[in-house]
């Protein structure tokens, strides 16, 4: 810790001098397009030693190592798909936050659409069945007891 305080004192002294040499900060990454791919890929990969975090956001050692791997592969010209394959070959589908579309995940990916379709179908069937019933099956209406209201009956919530 003493080393750190000394470092900070040195910093303070240097800052007086360094302002003369102020410049545009060096981005961590040299190539913005590459960086964009880096962010996109690493934010879809799970940090396996964390409690539900991506390797983009985690400070864990393994996350740092895997980020370095991704960066090296990107620089070497690999495609996004190749990098994903690299990861799943070693860690399985568990490492992907975007579950692959395969037999076992068919229900997962198609489920919401199926539920929507099913829900709307049930709604349609129920409404049709209701419209076929005679008026006696229903309860008396408040509105039927009062005289019909003028042009816009907006009612309340």
């Amino acid at each position: 810790m003493r080393r750190r305080s000394r470092l900070l004192v040195l910093l303070a002294a240097l800052s007086l001098v360094a302002s003369v040499f102020a410049k545009e900060a060096v981005p961590e990454a040299s190539d913005p397009a590459l960086e964009a791919r880096m962010v996109r890929i690493t934010s879809e990969l799970r940090c396996l030693v964390c409690q539900n975090q991506t390797i983009a956001d985690s400070h864990a050692d393994l996350a740092v190592d895997l980020r370095r791997q991704v960066r090296e592969q990107l620089t070497a010209g690999r495609s996004d798909a190749e990098i994903i394959d690299y990861m799943t070959a070693r860690y399985g589908d568990f490492v992907l936050y975007r579950p692959p579309f395969k037999g076992t995940t068919l229900l997962l990916w198609l489920g919401p659409a199926a539920m929507l379709g099913g829900g709307l179908l049930v709604l349609a069937v129920v409404l049709r069945r209701r419209s076929r019933l005679s008026p006696d099956a229903f309860e008396a209406d408040d509105d039927d007891l009062v005289s019909p209201s003028p042009a816009r009956d907006v009612g309340h919530a």
């Binding site: 750190r4 305080s5 470092l7 900070l8 040195l10 910093l11 303070a12 240097l14 800052s15 360094a18 302002s19 040499f21 102020a22 410049k23 545009e24 900060a25 060096v26 981005p27 962010v39 879809e44 964390c50 409690q51 539900n52 991506t54 983009a56 956001d57 399985g92 589908d93 568990f94 490492v95 992907l96 936050y97 579950p99 692959p100 076992t104 229900l107 997962l108 489920g111 919401p112 539920m115 929507l116 829900g119 709604l123 409404l127 229903f138 309860e139 008396a140 209406d141 509105d143 009062v146 005289s147 209201s149 003028p150 042009a151 816009r152 009956d153 907006v154 009612g155 309340h156 919530a157």
Partner: protein, 662 residues
């Protein structure tokens, strides 16, 4: 002594909850007024006992009593007092006690404000809530006692997790729990009505303000959690579709469906059994959330330290409570009446459309959250389901919902005409499209999804405006002053409009931040600058500052816009004394149209640091929108309809009908 008192209070509460659960219920069935009369006082005593227990635990924290195991695990002498109190709910045992405090509070509140209900009904409602308390008390006393002693007492506590030493921790869990637990009121109303066989429109009117209140707390609670994650976690995100986040979002979706469904049931008496089912479902999802967070079946930063015995208990509790109520539903619901008629195109149908979309959305979230668990349980492999999945399936469900949000309030009850609606809404539709085009042109390119988001937000605003303008028109042939017309709009209607505008603000915030946010990781030496748009960030170095229970390396970054100084930001990297745990604190310059967000990365050679800089346009509209939604909820819940004691006369009804307000 105090911990023992707290412990004893819980045992007494267990007994009282048993009395509350049984005698009023039997009394209501047998017509024994002396037994039903036990409900209200029992509810109050139950709350008093649990409150006493809570106070004892808080006192143990305040007094640094490290002979209590829970206190020793979650607190520390250096922890400031307000965080010592907050630490009461920093771990599993204490947070369950907080849950119980809320549950018994809502029970006592129902006891207090249910005098207008028939005695048998309120007795049954309170009895059901008594059973819920009994279950949780049994859970605490057998598996999660916060008052367990530690022999020999620890000299010093293990400290509260540094991530939780934050104002967010003070308010987010209490608000969230008020929401979760508040849904138990609607649940109890539903079960009581099923048991008693008296499910009519007045049931919906009684249940509504309670449900809206719970929805309000849940909305605020989730918004607070999201906002806290945003400024605390240092990576600028605000929603990760984490299992625990989903566990709070699912009841919210169903609760939103419920408050809309209650509107139909109250107004028209229709779809009573569906509303009852939603009420059971909403609280069931709260309980499911409790299970997911505390059982260890899902991996999450939010998950409590787990113990399989606890998981099993909660699961058994879940099966009993939800299983029994759904069985009761299957038995009693078929004989519930159909309510009033309505045609295919009507406000009722649109609200049902709202319900279908919200329930399917909840189903999608549930599917994504539990799918990995199901696959693993069936030995079909192990997968992860994260934001890429949820973002993909959720947005398409949201879009038709927002579309309906514009039409529904304008549609007439019972029977509406599509051509009429189209005519009334064409201005809204047109102006929404124009506004979107203008916004894209000003913003400069936003993508298809972004354009859709803008269109949705503008559509809501335009349709709410249309609704408001229509209501402010004097009825044909009369000349009523504008202000008078405005005052005649029911508060619940105003609440609805405001809440919907809140949704628009939320969508706008999400759309603009997702399409326009900029993140930059830069290595900065002292004096270095980096630019995002017109903003210039200058790094002025890092120095050490002490805190109450930590030491921090504090950076200074000056921000200017066009030469004019805008803000000086001080992100920190803290080391907490007790645990030597490290934590990154970002610093944010909040603005109406943008946030400027800076956090420190790692130090590198020569005094330089890796600094992460974010530009987040309109991000605060996300939580602002939620607050506005909440405000709408408060207005809706406090409509005079619910505060009135006297019954309405037919004359008032007729007058109201003429003026279009009843």
């Amino acid at each position: 002594m105090i911990p023992e008192l707290g412990h004893l209070a819980l045992w007494l509460a267990l007994g009282v909850s048993l009395v509350l659960g049984t005698m009023p219920m039997v009394g209501a069935a047998r017509g024994r007024l002396d037994w039903t009369a036990l409900a209200r006082p029992s509810a109050r005593v139950l709350f008093a006992l649990v409150a006493l227990s809570f106070v004892c635990l808080a006192a143990s924290f305040a007094g640094n009593d490290f002979s209590v195991l829970y206190v020793a695990s979650n607190s520390n002498r250096l922890l400031p007092l307000h965080y010592r109190i907050t630490a009461v709910w920093g771990g599993h045992e204490g947070s369950i006690l907080l849950w119980l405090l809320m549950l018994t509070f809502w029970t006592a509140a129902v006891a207090q404000f249910s005098r207008h209900l028939p005695d048998a009904m309120s007795a049954r409602i309170l009895a059901v809530m008594g059973w819920l308390s009994f279950g949780f008390l049994l859970f605490v006393l057998t598996t999660s006692n916060p008052f367990d002693r530690l022999f020999p007492a620890a000299a010093e506590g293990r400290d509260l997790n540094p991530l939780l030493q934050d104002p967010g921790m003070v308010i987010h869990p209490p608000m969230l729990y008020m929401g979760y637990v508040g849904l138990s009121v609607a649940f109890s109303f539903a079960v009581a009505a099923l048991i008693g066989g008296n499910l009519d429109a007045s049931w919906a009117r009684w249940a509504r303000p309670w449900t809206t209140a719970a929805w309000f707390f849940l909305t605020i609670g989730i918004a607070l959690g999201s906002g806290w994650a945003y400024y605390e976690l240092g990576w600028g995100g605000w929603w990760f579709w984490d299992p625990v986040e989903n566990a709070s979002f699912m009841p919210w979706l169903v609760a939103t469906a419920l408050i809309h469904s209650l509107a139909v049931t109250e107004k028209r008496g229709s779809f009573k059994s569906w509303t009852v089912l939603l009420a059971i479902l909403a609280f069931s999802l709260s309980l499911l959330g409790t299970f997911l967070v505390r059982s260890g079946v899902l991996s999450s930063v939010h998950a409590f330290a787990t113990d399989p015995k606890r998981g099993l208990f909660i699961l058994a509790f879940l099966v009993i409570v939800i299983g029994a109520s759904l069985a009761l539903y299957a038995w009693r619901a078929p004989s519930v009446g159909l309510g009033a008629r309505f045609s295919l195109v009507s406000r009722e149908t649109m609200l049902l459309g709202n319900n279908v979309l919200l329930v399917v959305a909840c189903g999608a979230v549930l599917l994504g959250t539990l799918y990995p668990l199901a696959l693993d349980a069936l030995n079909l492999g192990k997968i992860s389901v994260g934001p890429p999945y949820f973002d993909t399936v959720f947005v398409p469900l949201l879009t038709p919902l927002v579309f309906l949000m514009g039409i529904g309030p304008l549609a007439r009850w019972k029977e509406a005409e599509l051509p009429d609606l189209a005519k009334r809404l064409k201005w809204a539709a047109g102006s929404a499209v124009v506004a979107t085009i203008v916004a894209i042109w000003v913003h400069g390119g936003i993508g298809i999804v972004g354009a859709l988001g803008l269109l949705m937000a503008f559509w809501i605003v335009a349709s709410v405006t249309t609704d408001l303008v229509e209501r402010l028109q004097p009825p044909a042939g009369t000349r009523v002053a504008l202000l008078q017309r405005a005052r005649l709009i029911p508060r619940a209607m105003v609440g609805m409009m405001i809440a919907h505008l809140g949704v628009a603000a939320f969508i706008l915030g999400v759309t603009l931040v997702k399409s326009g946010e900029v993140e930059r990781d830069v290595k900065m030496e002292i004096g270095d600058t980096t630019e995002i748009g017109d903003y210039v960030f200058t790094f002025r170095g890092v120095r050490e500052v002490p805190g109450p229970n930590y030491r921090a390396a504090q950076g200074t970054i000056e921000v200017s816009e066009g030469g004019r100084a805008v803000a000086t930001l001080h992100p920190q990297k803290r080391i907490y004394t007790a645990t030597q745990a490290a934590m990154t604190e970002a610093d944010i310059d909040t603005g109406l149209t943008r946030d400027l967000y800076v956090s420190l990365g790692e130090p590198v050679a020569n005094g330089a640091w890796i600094v992460r800089v974010y530009y987040k346009p309109f991000v605060d509209w996300i939580w602002g929108g939620c607050l506005i939604m909440g405000l709408g909820g408060v207005l809706a819940a406090t409509d005079r309809r619910y505060r009135q004691r006297a019954k309405k006369t037919v004359r008032t009804d007729a007058l109201g009908a003429v003026l279009g307000t009843t």
